[in-house]
Structures are given as structure tokens and as C-alpha cells.
Amino acid sequence: MSQVILEQVGRRFGIVQAVADVSLEIREGEFLTLLGPSGCGKTTTLRIVAGLEEHEDGRVYIGGRLVSDAARRWFLPPERRQVGMVFQSYAVWPHMTVFENVAFPLRVRHMPESEVRQRVVWALNLVGLEGLERRPATALSGGQQQRLAIARAIVYEPRVLLLDEPLSNLDAKLREGMRVELKSLQRRLGITTLYVTHDQEEAMVLSDRLAIMSGGRILQVGSPEEVYRRPASPEVAAFLGATTVLEGEVRAQRRGADGPEVEVVGPGWAAWCRATEGLMPGRRARVYVRADGLRLLRDGETPPAGEGGRWWGRVEQLQFRGGEVSVVVRADCGVFRVDVPFPAGVSEGDEVWVVGSSDRIYAF
């Protein structure tokens, strides 16, 4: 029993509504990520769960137990919520050794020293810091301090692990490695985890489910694939990497293999897109196109199956990205980015078709 439930939680800072009407369930053993741009309320939500922040509305339950109830102004203090937390700046004690850092939460809980030793060794082994017990915490590298912070957060076996952008201070290569480790550590411990990040890729790799936040609200909750493939709102589509937005009018509607689809018509183009239920013919619509759902076609080539729409344009730029190339194409209605494998097979100035498959274009 260690699921976390938030019920209509709200938090104001002066006139700013940092968190508004957030209801969310983090299932037992689940890795759930709050994903959103900075200032979207994700860190505040995490801090509310931790008990570091008092909220004005709603209730929070951890493991079936009410831990805060804004209506009664009742808040269980953080140390009694059985949560472990990893901070963005790691917050390791600079004046203590690695061992003392991890032992600290146990010692302030008056655990017998023999058990402290056993637990610390266990936690340090889990994060791969064995053998560094006597090092001063400040003599560790950034990645090691990160591990130390994780070891300290899990050493007293909390019910819930809270992580606030823990990887954002690491360099790109280290971050990649830590993602893998963090994920396998969480699986091994089976600990309910709430993770906060603004890094879309990180969230997708790590999470069982994502909650996309913006303006203090949760826009969509779902598995990474669901959220990515079926964004529920334009904000989600835009945040998850839609690079081109077009305006048009809905002309027709049909039932696709995977939900409703609509045909949107703009000046000089028409496209079938995924849509939400309420989008009826005659309505104005915005079409969101993502770089990874597009292909390039020379005039006369046969289009791939499942084509949703096409736009005629001129290649303006080639951006080499290693394994793939981003081709920037200017069409009459807007600019598209198309990610294709290297070599791109086109050069600057070429005229091409940009073809989108109907399950990668979204109309709202």
C-alpha cells in the first residue's frame, strides 16, 4: 500500500495560481513523471506531496492514509510521510563523509548503529558507491553526488520516492547513463516514484506514465506512447515537439482505425488528421505537425500508404544531427521540419513534397 493520491489540489503564491485543481493517482510501484515547461507547477506539486509546501485546496493521500487536508488546514510534517526526496542540487551534507551522509536519516531516527551500518552498505551498493564510504561528500564528482543523494533518499526504505529534476545538473553523457540506472533501480526496489522534469526525452524513457502539466493544471495523463501518439490538447502536442502549426477548416469526418479523423482544408492544401470527438465539419481547426511524422517525396514518386496530406515546398536548410538530418522546407502555408535518416537525398533549393501520415498529424 504505497500509492499516492492527489484530490483537487491547489496552491497559490500571492495572485499566482501555481497549482490548480490537480487530481492524480500514482499507482503502487509506478514511475510517474510530471512533465512540463518551467513554471508549470510540477515542482510545487512534488513539494506538496513531500509536505514541504502547504496547499490551499484539496487533499493528499499516501498509502491510503490522509497526509494533508487543506480544508482542515491539516498537514502531516514531511518526516512522518515516509517519503524520500532527491533535490536538483543534491543537497548532500558537505561537511560529512559519504557514509555519514547516508547514515544521517537513520541516525536522527535513532536506529541502532549495527543496523545503520548494514543499511548504509546496502544503499551504497545499490547506487554503486561501495568503497567510497570514507570520502568527504564534496570530493565526489557530480554524478557520484547524485548517487549519494539517491542512496540517502532510499536508505530508510520510504514508501514513495520523490525526485526533483535530479539529472538536470549532469552533462549529457552522464545523464544518459544515470537514466538507465535510475530506471533499473526503481524497478528493483519496486518503489512508487514521482519524478519531475522538463526534459521530454528523459520523461519518456523513464516513466510508466506521464502527467503533462501547464499553467498549474494537468493536461493529460497516460503512458509515454499514448501521450505522444494521441495528444489530448494543442498544448500537449506543442510541448511534445510539434514544430509546425497550420490553420484550416474541417471539411469531412471519418472513423479511423484508432479513433476519429477529420479532413482539414487550408489555402492550397488538405490533410486527414487525428482529431478529438467534438471536431465537426465547418469548424475552424489548428493542425499540429511533428517532424518525425513527415517524409520527403520528389515529384512523381509514389506516396507511402496512410498518407494524410502533402505540401509542396522548397528545401531551405539542411541541419546535420548525426544519425539523421533535419530538412527545413518552406511551403506557402508555413515552414516544416522533416527528420530523415542521413543522407537526406535532397539538397538546398530542391523542390519537394512534404508528406504526412494521418496518424502523426493532429487537429484540434
Binding site: 513531500a50 514541504l52 518526516e79 533535490f87 543537497a91 551534507w93 544521517f104 531516527r109
Partner: protein, 276 residues
């Protein structure tokens, strides 16, 4: 060319050093001069140095008693007042730095205003107060007054040191289940130890050097070394030799402290990034 420019920068610095250190050197030299050379005009740079004035300070047969008793008074009072002021300043600074309560800002600025009071304005009331509780001419009385005088500044100084410790450390301790007093003693105290030591040293020095309150609030038993120095200004003239010797002895702890604590003191006074 660059060397020349650098050298020019040192001219005002050298002038300032001369301005401040000159009188100190003068006093130190005077304390070593034989009686005939002290008031010689023009002043003598070359003379046969003597320790007779220092020896006189240590002479228990002297009319006023020797310097040692007064030095002991100074030491006891400065240590006690510095200890009290630092302990109180630390808890006040912690409250101002970490706790949220109504009137917090007003309180902090009020403390600074207290510091602006001219000392003379408080001297007489302090005397009346100490007399009422029977603490005139006692170590405890003068020590308490010094602690009170130093406290506002120390609170601000210590608040500054505590402010440099990142808030996330507080929260991490909170989640770890660390009670507040334990956090203060086990985490904040060790992290800010150099700053706290500098504050204690500063407050010690202020008390060590203080003269006018000591003159007013003590007579004989608890009189401090600066008061003793005054005795060399007599109705038969100023005894420059012993006066200079006593002044030199009194300067030594101050000089030592500034050399040792210089870096920490500057960080506390002028702020700076927290280094873990």
C-alpha cells in the same frame, strides 16, 4: 608598461597603510625608547631600545597594581561577552534567516537601528540599570553590557552566514526527520563554523578595545586594561613610556585576530557565494 601601471595603483594603498599603521608604529617605537628620547625634537629614529617600561607594567609594587590583573579582567569580560553575544546572535540569526513570522523584517531593521544609537545616550541609563541590580564594577555586569552592545551587529553578520547555506539543505534535513535544533547543531553549525568563529573574534575584539563604558561602569575590581592605561595620564603629566608599552601590549591580540580571521571576516561582512 603594465608593471608601471600596477605600481601606480599601489601608491594610494601605500599612503593609506602609512596613514593607519604610522601611529601604531610610533606608539610601538615610543614604548622602546629610553625616557630622554621620548619627547626629543626632532624625533629620534635611532636610539638604544629599552624594555624598562614593559618591566614597569609588570611591577606588582606599582601604585595602581600591575597590568596583569587588568589584562585578566579584560580577557574574562571579553571572552564571556563574546560567547554570550555569539550564542544569542546565532539563535536570533537563525530565526531571522529561516523562520517566517510576522514582523520579521521590522525586527531585523529595528536591530540595526539599535546599533545606530550613540553610545553616550545609553551610557548613563546603563549605569543606573547596573547599579539597580548591583552589577556595577562586576565582570558579569560589564560582560552583559558588551554582549548587548555587540548583539545587533552579530545577529546581522550571522544571519548573513546562515543565509548562504542553501535552503534545500534545510528541506533535505526536514525530510530526513531531523529536528530543528539538531539541524542547527549538526548541519548549520559545522557548515558556518568559520563564520561563527570570525563573529566571536570580532565581538571579542570590540569588547577588548572598549574604553568609555568600562570607565563608567567599573571602578577597581572589574576595571579592564584600557581603563588602566588612562592612569598614566596624571596630574603631573603624561607618562608616555608606560602608556605606550601598555597600548602596544593591548594591540597584540587585535593584530593577531585580524591576520588569522581576515578572510572569513571579509566574507561575512561583504557576502559571497556559499562554498560546500
Amino acid at each position: 608598461m603594465t608593471v608601471g601601471r600596477q605600481a601606480w595603483k599601489h601608491v594610494p594603498l601605500a599612503a593609506a597603510a602609512l596613514w593607519f599603521a604610522g601611529p601604531l608604529a610610533w606608539v610601538a617605537l615610543t614604548s622602546l625608547k629610553p625616557a630622554g628620547d621620548i619627547l626629543a625634537v626632532p624625533p629620534r629614529i635611532w636610539f638604544r631600545p629599552t624594555l624598562e617600561w614593559y618591566a614597569a607594567l609588570w611591577n606588582p609594587q606599582a601604585f595602581l597594581g600591575d597590568l596583569r590583573g587588568y589584562l585578566a579582567n579584560s580577557l574574562v569580560i571579553a571572552l564571556a561577552s563574546s560567547g554570550w553575544a555569539t550564542a544569542a546572535g546565532l539563535t536570533c540569526g537563525f530565526a531571522l534567516s529561516r523562520l517566517r513570522f510576522p514582523g520579521r523584517g521590522a525586527l531585523a531593521w529595528g536591530l540595526l537601528l539599535l546599533r545606530m544609537l550613540p553610545p553616550v545616550a545609553t551610557a548613563v541609563p546603563l549605569f543606573v540599570l547596573l547599579r539597580a541590580v548591583g552589577a556595577v564594577d562586576t565582570h558579569v555586569g560589564l560582560g552583559a553590557v558588551y554582549a548587548a552592545v555587540n548583539l545587533p551587529f552579530l545577529v546581522w553578520l550571522l544571519k548573513g552566514f546562515l543565509d548562504e547555506v542553501p535552503r534545500e539543505l534545510d528541506e533535505a534535513a526536514w525530510i530526513d526527520g531531523c529536528p530543528r535544533w539538531l539541524y542547527l547543531t549538526r548541519v548549520l553549525l559545522p557548515l558556518t563554523a568559520p563564520g561563527i568563529a570570525a563573529c566571536a573574534g570580532y565581538s571579542f575584539l570590540v569588547s577588548w578595545n572598549e574604553f568609555s563604558l568600562a570607565l563608567l561602569l567599573t571602578a577597581r575590581r572589574a576595571a579592564t586594561a584600557p581603563v588602566y592605561v588612562l592612569n598614566f595620564i596624571t596630574d603631573q603629566g603624561v607618562q608616555w613610556g608606560p602608556l605606550a608599552a601598555a597600548a602596544t601590549v593591548l594591540t597584540v591580540p587585535a593584530a593577531l585576530f585580524v591576520v588569522l580571521a581576515d578572510r572569513h571576516l571579509r566574507r561575512g561582512l561583504f557576502g559571497g557565494a556559499f562554498k560546500g
